[in-house]
C-alpha cells in the first residue's frame, strides 16, 4: 500500500504508541484525583504540555488540550463570539477555511452574528487589502487558517496578525495543517489563538489543543469539572495527550530533515504528473505551499473515479478534504480560487509524509497516467 493522504490523517509513530500504551491499563489514574496513581497521570499531562509548548514556541500555561482540531476551532470561535457579544457581533474569516471554521461561522450567523468571508486570489492567498478595509468597530474576531488542507497554500499570518492586532481585535488561526510540517511559532506569528490536531502529526485521532495567548480572555466551551485550569472540562484523554506530547517532541527534533525530504518527493511527483498527464491544472501557490501537498485538476475525469482506481492499485489519495469525500458538493476551496466549473469535480490531492519513498512516487507515476487515460476514454467530455 502506498499512502499519500497525510493531510487527511497520519499513522501514529511507533514511539508515540509506545509512550501512550502504559496509560490505558497501568497508569490509568484520573488526573484530578489526589493519590499517587492519579498524580502520575497529572504529571504526564504536564510533561506533554511542555513538549507541545516547545513545538509551538509558547508558554505551557497557554496550551489547553481538546478533543481535536474541530473542538479547538469551535471553542475559539463560539466562545469568543459569546464572550465578546457586548462589544460587537462582526466576525471575519476567509472563504477557504476548513469546515470546522466555516460551519461554525454559519452557526454563529444563525444565532445573530455577521460573518465576512474574505476572498482569495487564484493561489488561495487571502486578500489583505480587503481585510484591512473590512475591520469595523464591532469586529470581535478574525480567523484565518495558517495553511489550507486541500491546496496547501500558506497564508501571510504574521502580516495578517499585525493588521488585525493594530485594530485591537483578536486573531485566531487554524494551524492544524501547518503543525509538524514546517516550523510555526505562535509567538513570532503574533496570533492570539491557534488550533492544533494531533492526528496530523503522527499521533492519535481525537486529541488536539488550543493555544490561547496569555492575556486573552476566552470563556470555556465545554462546561463541567475544573480540568485544564477550569477552561476545558472533561476527564482528560490522558493517553492521547501523552501521545500528542511525544509527537510534538519528535516533530521538534525531526521536522526540518523530514520536510526537506518530503518536499523533494513532492516536487518529483509534481514534475512527473506535469510531464505525463496532459491537460491538468496544478492548484495552490507555487512557493507559499505546504511542502508535502500536490493538488491538481484533471480535465474530463471525475475525482472519485480516479480515487477508486488508485485504491485498486493500492494507492491512497484524496480528491480534496477527507470530510467532503463522502459528499457531492464541489470543494469550496477550488471554487474560491476560481477553478472553472467544469473542472470542479476533477481534483486530486496527494499529500506526502515521512514514510514515503522515491519508489512510492514512481509507482504513482506509473499508475496514474493509465487510470486517467482509461477514464478519459470513457468520458463524454474528452475528445
Amino acid at each position: 500500500m502506498i499512502y499519500m493522504d497525510y493531510n487527511a490523517t497520519t499513522p501514529c509513530d511507533k514511539r508515540v504508541v509506545e509512550e501512550m500504551t502504559p496509560f490505558f491499563s497501568g497508569r490509568f489514574g484520573n488526573p484530578s484525583s489526589i493519590y499517587t496513581l492519579a498524580r502520575d497521570a497529572y504529571k504526564a499531562i504536564e510533561q506533554a504540555r511542555g513538549r507541545l509548548a516547545k513545538l509551538l514556541d509558547c508558554n505551557t500555561n497557554e496550551i489547553f488540550f481538546t478533543s481535536g482540531g474541530t473542538e479547538a476551532d469551535n471553542w475559539a470561535l463560539v466562545s469568543s463570539a459569546f464572550g465578546l457579544r457586548n462589544k460587537g457581533k462582526h466576525i471575519i474569516t476567509s472563504s477557504i477555511e476548513h469546515h470546522a471554521v466555516l460551519h461554525t461561522c454559519q452557526f454563529l450567523e444563525k444565532v445573530g452574528y455577521e460573518v465576512l468571508y474574505l476572498p482569495v486570489d487564484k493561489y488561495g492567498v487571502v486578500d489583505v487589502d480587503v481585510l484591512k478595509q473590512s475591520i469595523r468597530n464591532d469586529t470581535i474576531l478574525v480567523s484565518v487558517m495558517a495553511a489550507n488542507n486541500e491546496i496547501g497554500t500558506i497564508q501571510p499570518i504574521r502580516e495578517i496578525a499585525d493588521i488585525v492586532k493594530s485594530k485591537g481585535v483578536y486573531f485566531h488561526t487554524d494551524a492544524v495543517q501547518v503543525t509538524g510540517k514546517t516550523p510555526f511559532s505562535v509567538k513570532e506569528m503574533g496570533v492570539d489563538m491557534a488550533s492544533f490536531s494531533c492526528h496530523k502529526l503522527y499521533g492519535p485521532k481525537g486529541v488536539g489543543a488550543l493555544y490561547v495567548r496569555k492575556g486573552v480572555t476566552l470563556p470555556p466551551f465545554l462546561h463541567g469539572g475544573g480540568q485544564e485550569r477550569r477552561k476545558r472540562a472533561g476527564t482528560e484523554n490522558v493517553a492521547g495527550i501523552v501521545g500528542l506530547g511525544k509527537a510534538a517532541e519528535i516533530a521538534v527534533s525531526e521536522m526540518a530533515e523530514e520536510e526537506a525530504k518530503i518536499r523533494a518527493l513532492r516536487d518529483r511527483l509534481e514534475q512527473g504528473v506535469r510531464e505525463n498527464i496532459p491537460e491538468i491544472i496544478v492548484n495552490g501557490h507555487p512557493e507559499q505551499r505546504l511542502s508535502n501537498t500536490l493538488n491538481f485538476c484533471v480535465k474530463a475525469v471525475e475525482g472519485e473515479a480516479m480515487l477508486l482506481h488508485l485504491d485498486l492499485d493500492g494507492i491512497c489519495a484524496s480528491s480534496g478534504s477527507a470530510c467532503t469525500s463522502g459528499s457531492l458538493e464541489p470543494s469550496h476551496v477550488l471554487i474560491a480560487i476560481g477553478i472553472p466549473e467544469i473542472m470542479l469535480h476533477s481534483s486530486l490531492r496527494f499529500s506526502l509524509g515521512k514514510h514515503n519513498t522515491e519508489g512510492d512516487v514512481d509507482r504513482v507515476l506509473e499508475a496514474l497516467p493509465n487510470i486517467v487515460e482509461k477514464l478519459r476514454r470513457m468520458s463524454p467530455l474528452w475528445q
Binding site: 473515479a305 467544469i342 468520458s379 463524454p380
Partner: protein
Amino acid sequence: MDYTEKVYDHLKNPRNMGKIEDADGEGTVGSPVCGDVMKIYIKVKDNIIEDVKFETFGCGAAIATSSVLTELVKGKTIEDAEKITNKDVIAVLGGLPPVKMHCSVLAESGLKSAIADYKGKQDNDRKRQGG
C-alpha cells in the same frame, strides 16, 4: 461509504464502454457542473436493442450503474428495456451507499433519453416515408 464488490468489478471492467458512431438512439443526461454526465448509445434492429454503449464522467456509482444498465438492456425489446428502473440496476450491484442512490437514477434517465431519441427518429423516418 462502502461500495460492493460488484461495483468494483464494473469499475475495473466496465461492460459496453464507448461510443456507437451510427447509433439509432443517443441520450445525454447530467452536467459536468454537477459532477456527472452520462451518454447512452443504442443500436436497434426489429425493435430489439442489439447493441448499447455508454460514456460516463462521474463517480464510481455512476460508472458502475451505467455499465450494469447496458448489460441489462442488451437484447431486450424496447418495451422491456423501458421497464428497467434504477432499482433493477441497484439490485444487480447488490446495493449502493445511501449518498449514492441518486447516481443510479442517472443511468435510468440516460436510457430513457436514448430510447426517446430513437423513437423520435423512427417517427421522423415514418413521416418522411409518407406515414
